[in-house]
């Protein structure tokens, strides 16, 4: 019981802290959203408009504490307020329209990256000594060190513009109406290829090297040698004995990565004009759109916490040792 309380306690404290930081951070920024908005209308909006905008946005000059209490109360009721850069659209709506794209793009490519990286890691540890196996970690290490917006821009320029193989922007051809038919779905996939390749290319290395190291450690474990001695097939030995165990230390990393899917693709989304949350977050920051910023931060924080929680459960499935209350009697 004590344990449960501790864990839930930690969860609540984390959420509270995340929420509070969300509240404080934007307010530390100089200026206010109404002023920022004027910039968007560079020279086209009268200075008087500032006051009108402040009124519109309900920017209060109330004491911070009062604002904070109000903010917490609203959150509890699931209200994140109205976005300022998309005024008067509610923050929830803004996130709602962009989140699926991010989850789709960054989520899928993270998963691809994890899967491919892990498989290549397994390969490069299993075939240690072959040139490909030794080249892979080095090559991907360099890939991982490239700024990913740079890769994105190059890909966009070469494959999108010069060669014209891929679209230059958006998540689907705008002439199509979103629906669950193959034409649309394939179009979405087509649009996501370049951004996804960017994410996969630049994040592959970490998984590969991590998995490779774990694998090599695991391959030295007695139970793997024992498995070999038992005359198991290579496949079973590699996947069920070595890889299955080697993957365990990476699981927490996967959780963090999945949690950060929401924010991770920020620059990629911007370069490819992909309508995801990352871009919204940048807009929010640039426009000092507190409510939107807070909303997105909250989503990310919750995503990370949830991913961690889910992984704890998953971990118990993967590693019987973590299942303390097992069959043992």
């Amino acid at each position: 019981m004590r344990h449960l309380i501790q864990r839930v306690g930690f969860l609540l404290v984390s959420i509270w802290a995340a929420v509070t930081i969300n509240f404080v951070l934007p307010r530390l920024m100089p200026g206010n959203p109404a002023e920022v908005l004027l910039a968007r209308y560079q020279g086209r909006l009268q200075p008087q408009a500032l006051h009108a905008l402040e009124l519109q946005f309900g920017l209060s000059h109330k004491p911070l504490l009062t604002q904070y209490v109000g903010y917490l109360a609203n959150l509890v009721h699931g209200q994140m307020g109205l976005s300022i850069s998309y005024y008067p659209t509610p923050v929830t709506k803004v996130i709602e329209t962009s989140l699926p794209w991010t989850l789709g793009l960054a989520g899928t490519s993270t998963i691809i990256s994890v899967v491919v990286g892990t498989l290549l890691g397994i390969y490069s540890s299993w075939k240690r000594g072959s040139w490909l196996a030794s080249a892979l970690p080095t090559a991907t290490t360099f890939l991982a060190a490239i700024p990913y917006f740079w890769v994105a821009l190059l890909l966009l320029y070469v494959f999108g513009f010069v060669l014209g193989w891929f679209p230059l922007a958006h998540s689907y051809s705008l002439s199509l109406t979103p629906s669950w038919n193959w034409e649309f779905v394939s179009n979405v996939i087509y649009h996501s290829i370049l951004p996804a390749v960017t994410i996969v290319l630049t994040s592959l290395g970490g998984w590969l090297v991590g998995m490779r190291n774990n694998m090599i450690n695991t391959l030295g474990e007695d139970y793997v040698v024992f498995g070999e001695a038992k005359g198991l097939s290579k496949r079973r030995l590699m996947l069920v004995y070595a890889a299955r165990n080697a993957i365990l230390p990476n699981v927490t990393g996967f959780a963090m990565a999945l949690g950060f899917v929401v924010s991770g693709a920020l620059l990629t989304e911007i370069v490819f004009s992909y309508p995801g949350v990352g871009f919204q977050l940048l807009t929010a920051v640039e426009n000092e759109d507190y409510p939107l910023m807070q909303g997105i931060f909250l989503i990310i924080a919750i995503a990370v916490l949830l991913a961690n929680f889910a992984v704890e459960l998953l971990y118990a499935r993967l590693d019987p040792r973590a299942r303390r209350e097992g069959v043992s009697s």
Binding site: S14, R128, A144, W150, L153, G205, S263, L267, V285
Partner: protein
């Protein structure tokens, strides 16, 4: 390569301190990956140190004809505003490396303080520090950086390094903490305590040396992360774009539509330079891994 297994991980030959160090360095660099990484890194460090002698023109000066492709006068061509790209690359290595390594040190230092003492002292201090670490971990890095950099107006390289360092320590702290907890539970620590050593002494003298490899990895990885984060921030225009770094070069190249203008020589070199430095960090980290974990060492 030679595989000498020792049950205790990093092994240090006996002899004087100096020869111990040269020997372990020698062993470290006997790994080809470490060698390649070390050489690339050294080249860039030297470039940064000797930048004032290596540049050919004032990197800020806009005196040349814009959009020149690489030629004898301008080895890497000129930018859209008529600056010499080669000189910018050389000059930019200073700030970029300073920020990267500086931030690496800052985050490693914080990670050591928070992770090690939390892990060693345990109790409520640890609870608080660990919770704090986990919270910082939950907050997304790049967006947080964006917000803070926006706050720190006109951020110069020092500020950026500090900010990246201040926000990027959590993962390291977590790793160090768990390592400290595992080392702290070993008998040799208990033995040290039995012989009357203070907590401070135990952490600094008994535990820290055993974590050097981890600390080194943390430093290397932290620096790599810092360079990438810095470039990202500057690319978004959140740094001081009048300063010359590889990040701001990319920013200007992008703002000037270098690629559309066909000026690949403006856009490609800064990215490649980052990739090379980052890659060398990656290789060094790799080598540290192998150095500390005999199992990772190559087969013949």
């Amino acid at each position: 390569m030679i595989a000498t297994t020792s049950p205790d991980g990093p092994s240090i030959r006996r002899g004087s301190k100096i020869s111990t160090i040269t020997h372990s360095l020698g062993r470290f660099f006997s790994d080809p990956k470490a060698r390649v990484g070390g050489v690339i890194f050294a080249v860039f460090i030297l470039m940064a140190i000797f930048a004032p002698w290596l540049i050919r023109y004032n990197p800020q000066s806009t005196q040349f004809a814009p959009w020149q492709s690489p030629n004898a006068n301008h080895w890497l061509g000129t930018t859209g505003t008529g600056q010499d790209v080669y000189s910018q690359i050389v000059w930019g290595s200073r700030a970029t490396l300073a920020i990267g390594i500086g931030a690496g040190f800052v985050s490693t230092f914080i990670a050591i303080v928070i992770g090690m003492f939390g892990g060693f002292l345990g109790g409520w201090i640890d609870n608080i520090l660990a919770t704090f670490t986990n919270i910082v971990l939950v907050i997304p890095g790049l967006p947080l950086l964006i917000v803070i950099t926006a706050y720190a107006k006109n951020a110069g390289s020092f500020t950026i390094a500090l900010i990246i360092g201040l926000t990027g320590w959590a993962w390291g702290a977590r790793v160090l903490r768990s390592q400290v907890m595992s080392i702290g539970g070993r008998d040799f620590v208990t033995a040290a305590r039995l012989s009357g050593a203070s907590s401070w002494r135990i952490v600094m003298v008994e535990i820290l040396p055993n974590m050097m490899a981890l600390v080194a990895a943390n430093l290397i990885y932290g620096s790599l992360y810092a360079i990438l984060a810095e470039t990202g921030l500057e690319f978004l225009g959140l740094g001081n774009v009048s300063q010359i770094t590889w990040g701001t070069m990319l920013y200007w190249a992008d703002a000037g539509q270098a690629l559309l203008n066909g000026a690949w020589w403006w856009f490609v070199p800064p990215g490649l330079a980052i990739a090379l430095v980052g890659g060398s960090f990656g290789l060094l980290n790799f080598a540290v891994d192998q150095y500390t974990n005999p199992r990772l060492r190559g087969k013949h």
